[in-house]
């Protein structure tokens, strides 16, 4: 009986996290369109609901009822499974993200602010995030379209190239907090914004944010789906719900990388000043994530897209040596400060 209760409890907890993430994904698409509209001096979606507030729901219903076309010559099993393979890693990463300090009490059950605090949290997220690249690569290959194949290949090359500096940038926070767990990493940054790792690891933070943009295929690194040359890249042939899954995966990944950046560099749910701690920690966490997401959208409206050779060269010739140098300096300074 106890085991059954525990599994039901975990299922409810997962439903809360997944529902929250999917709700945020839906409204992130609306926020992106609204912000881009505002930056380009137009209104964005206005028709569905007050100022387009119901637009994501209308989009969701439309995609759900769309015909699902499987083109001739595709590998049907891989074509069908690839979007799910892309979506699952983006969602399950949130299992180890600590959203706040306080537990949520509903009746006499208590939900901890993190689903499970495993001691290899950040490694777990990175390992599963790498699996997401398979969804893109397999989807592009299975489509039997030249645009999809090129988009999938480009995406795989880009994601693996930027994963190295991304992983190296996170070594700084891991070294300083002596832990891979997201919870202890947050705990190591309490007390005020001067304890946040972004203060001692500014280069690491910049490398992380740039690589996170590339990992999530966001502008200026959105070459896998460069409309001007590859139509829609790896999901050219996808329609209906399968298309929606790729879309969900991209936006869920944006929220996930912003959450990691918040935990690893921006103090997690900690308030910037001790006297601001009366505001519930979850609002600080979400505020930091929203600020990063706004920055991502802002970049999309501001910077032009890179060329593919520039993109690859930038990762291998600039980001990787810079990330290594950052680790060397950090470890040597940390060693002598500790002595």
């Amino acid at each position: 009986m106890d085991t059954v209760f525990q599994i039901v409890f975990i299922l409810v907890h997962i439903a809360i996290i997944m529902g929250g993430v999917l709700l945020h994904v839906a409204y992130l698409t609306l926020a992106e369109r609204k912000i881009l509209g505002d930056m380009q001096d137009r209104l964005g979606p206005m028709e569905v609901g007050w100022h387009g507030i119901l637009q994501p729901i209308a989009d969701g219903i439309k995609l759900f009822f769309k015909e699902d076309i499987i083109p001739s010559g595709t590998n049907k099993i891989i074509f069908s499974a690839a979007p799910i393979l892309s979506l699952v890693p983006a969602l399950i990463g949130f299992a180890v993200v600590p959203f706040g300090r306080d537990s949520l009490h509903i009746g006499n059950v208590t939900f901890a602010p993190v689903l499970t605090d495993i001691n290899i949290g950040i490694l777990y997220i990175l390992a599963f995030a790498s699996l997401g690249a398979y969804g893109v690569l397999l989807g592009g290959w299975a489509s039997n379209s030249k645009y999809s194949l090129l988009g999938g290949l480009r995406s795989a090359a880009q994601v693996i190239s930027y994963e190295l500096p991304l992983g190296l940038a996170l070594v700084g926070p891991i070294l300083l907090s002596q832990s891979l767990s997201m919870v202890s990493m947050t705990d190591a940054q309490g007390g005020g914004f001067w304890n946040w790792f972004v203060i001692v690891q500014p280069i690491g933070f910049v490398i992380y944010v740039i690589c996170a943009l590339a990992e999530t295929n966001r502008l200026p690194f959105d070459l896998p789906e460069a409309e001007s040359e590859l139509v829609a890249g790896f999901f050219t042939e996808y329609s209906g719900m399968r298309f929606a899954f790729y879309f969900l995966a991209e936006y869920a990944n944006m929220i996930l990388v912003s959450s990691i950046a918040t935990v690893a560099f921006l103090g997690g749910w900690h308030a910037p000043f001790p006297f601001l701690e009366f505001i519930p920690p979850i609002f600080w966490f979400m505020g930091k994530v929203y600020a990063l997401l706004f920055f991502f959208i802002w970049l999309r409206a501001t910077v032009p897209r890179l060329r593919f050779d520039q993109l690859m060269g930038f990762s291998w010739k600039i980001m990787l040596p810079l990330a290594l140098a950052n680790i060397l300096v950090t470890s040597i300074v940390a060693y002598f400060v500790r002595q």
Partner: protein, 120 residues
Amino acid sequence: MSSAPSYLPILIFIFVALGFGTVSLLAGRVLRPRAPYQEKLYPYESGIHPLTDARQTFPLRYYITAMLFVIFDIEVVFLYPWAVSFYQLGGVALLSMLFFIGILLVGFFYAWQKGAFVWD
């Protein structure tokens, strides 16, 4: 709920996420229209019928990039446990890691000189 961190919720989460994907695809199958005809099922190729199969040869550069990635990703995996126990290991660990990164850097600059990072 027990206090010890557990991997069970992650396993359940994987199944829930997989289930969410499969169920919403299968549920949609009953509800959405299905009217395929040959022109609709052609892969997109700017309005013409595709002349050749899309799965042709592609540049070897992608393969070289993947190989370099494997080498350097193993380095990242080595750095994580080193970083976690950095303060307990002391100076010897710092020196050996410097030595290790130094060896990798030699290989890195060799690959650079060989033009592995040039895309044209």
